[in-house]
Symmetry: C3
Subunit: 209 residues, 3 copies
């Protein structure tokens, strides 16, 4: 760790870039749901690329943390924020991956609509996060953001629970139930990761106040 | 972070409050096992309320850590302890929640008794923890406590394994097996979280010695 | 934490010891795959003993971190490395344990060969790690090591995915699928833990450069 102040994008730029990547990622995931099996493979590959790009930005944050003498917030807090956005991306990528890997081509309509609702919640989480990031310099002003993410996480939790009970009552083949349960749980974990991120912002705001 | 020494309950008070909440929580969970489906919903709701109250105390610990200039043990260690008690509560809450969500109303007697044994281990973990907390100022004196929790975790692990093999040999519908396996694993994770907490106390004691 | 410089094995010795234990552990796990049910129990017990010995070394690292005034790398980084090797061992132990606990005696040949491939990847991860540890004092020289572990993790990921899809298409009893899926996922998590360890070394090397 040196006294030099590294060149290049700031922490705020990098977190904004990560949030924008999440908007792209969740868009690909949403498109996958309605796509043909062949299109799904191509979309999954695009999602992988976005995830790799996201990894790169997360590494840039870690490198910058190691090289910066002063940081706008506590070092660990910035690392925490970048890691949570990275989790969101990893989980989106994993959901898309499972859909292809498990060959989930014939999902009954009711389960399918409920999964689409879960992805819709993630879409709104990503949009809100990308919209909030330019204001991160004044975390206290982001109160509406973290309240909204907590509300969305609750909505996502309800959607998750409805999907799960519908799935268990579906009479589907148990192996299909095992596969769909994995996807549904990954989507729920992604909503949780957005909430952890938003709560991290709230903690920073509390310290700044 | 300022030089002020925050008013209000001390770290010891707060961790004691969390431990007491775990005693209440596990009591509700144990009652759920023998309750009717309707009673279960009400008990689940009460368990949720205890979990929310527990979240609030955990947040108080985090806030106090951010505001205190001196802390009785290392800052991270106190945060670790509070977070592990919070994990215990979250996992109890999740177990109760799954029982209602999955509609687990007709569990065969042998599996049911084994699950009751797992919950009984958690009851003793919570009791021991609540009894130990008033002595936390002298962590070296809590040796018997952490040894006992490690013993209980071993007992819990044996119970978990017996439940799981009984479940797999039960001939139950695979979907029912998937549901019960989730509950059994959450109970086992809760015992692990108690052990992590007790090991955290041991680490603090080692540093103090 | 005192100014004394503790006697006994250095951090480098301890991490080397952990890596050597992983070589022993994965050897036992590989032997289990081709063993009779009775032999498996004995091998599982031996694996447990190696895991206990590994716990002890990990605790020695934590104690030494608490007692040392200066450490060769950042305190958290050394703790991170030891914890990841401990994860590798825990996951190997868990895999061996599940094979016995679940009574996995009649695995179809195709699934069995794919599981053997996953274990083979772990064998090479452990070998590479044990070979690299004596050079840890100069982490920048371990570039080939962390590149190779990342390559192995990719190979392991491909093996995991092939095993999983083969399993889902196997027409096996759903309960058998649930059991084998658990084992396969634990093996995959073990490969991930090796990668986390190798990435930890890379991070240290970057800081040192």
């Amino acid at each position: 760790m040196g006294l030099r102040s590294p060149e290049g994008p700031t922490f705020f730029d990098l977190l904004s870039a990560q949030a924008d990547q999440l908007v792209t990622g969740v868009g690909l995931l949403a498109t996958m749901l309605g796509a043909s099996p062949e299109e799904r493979v191509a979309l999954r590959d695009q999602l992988h690329e976005v995830e790799h790009a996201g990894d790169e930005v997360n590494h840039q944050v870690v490198r910058r943390l190691n090289l910066s003498f002063v940081t706008p917030f506590d070092r660990e807090d910035l690392g925490f924020l970048a890691a949570r956005l990275d989790d969101c991306m990893d989980l989106m990528d994993e959901a898309g991956d499972l859909i292809v890997l498990y060959g989930l081509n014939e999902i009954p309509d009711d389960v399918s609509e409920l999964i689409a609702h879960q992805v819709d919640v993630l879409t709104r989480c990503a949009d809100q996060t990308a919209k909030a990031m330019p204001g991160l310099k004044s975390p206290l002003d982001l109160r509406e953001y973290w309240v909204e993410i907590n509300r969305l996480e609750n909505e996502g939790d309800q959607a998750y629970r409805r999907t799960l009970t519908t799935l268990f009552d579906s009479g589907l083949d148990p192996v299909m139930i095992i596969k769909l349960k994995d996807v549904i749980e990954v989507l729920e974990s992604c909503a949780d990761a957005f909430e952890d991120f938003a709560n991290g912002i709230e903690s920073i705001a509390v310290k700044e106040s």
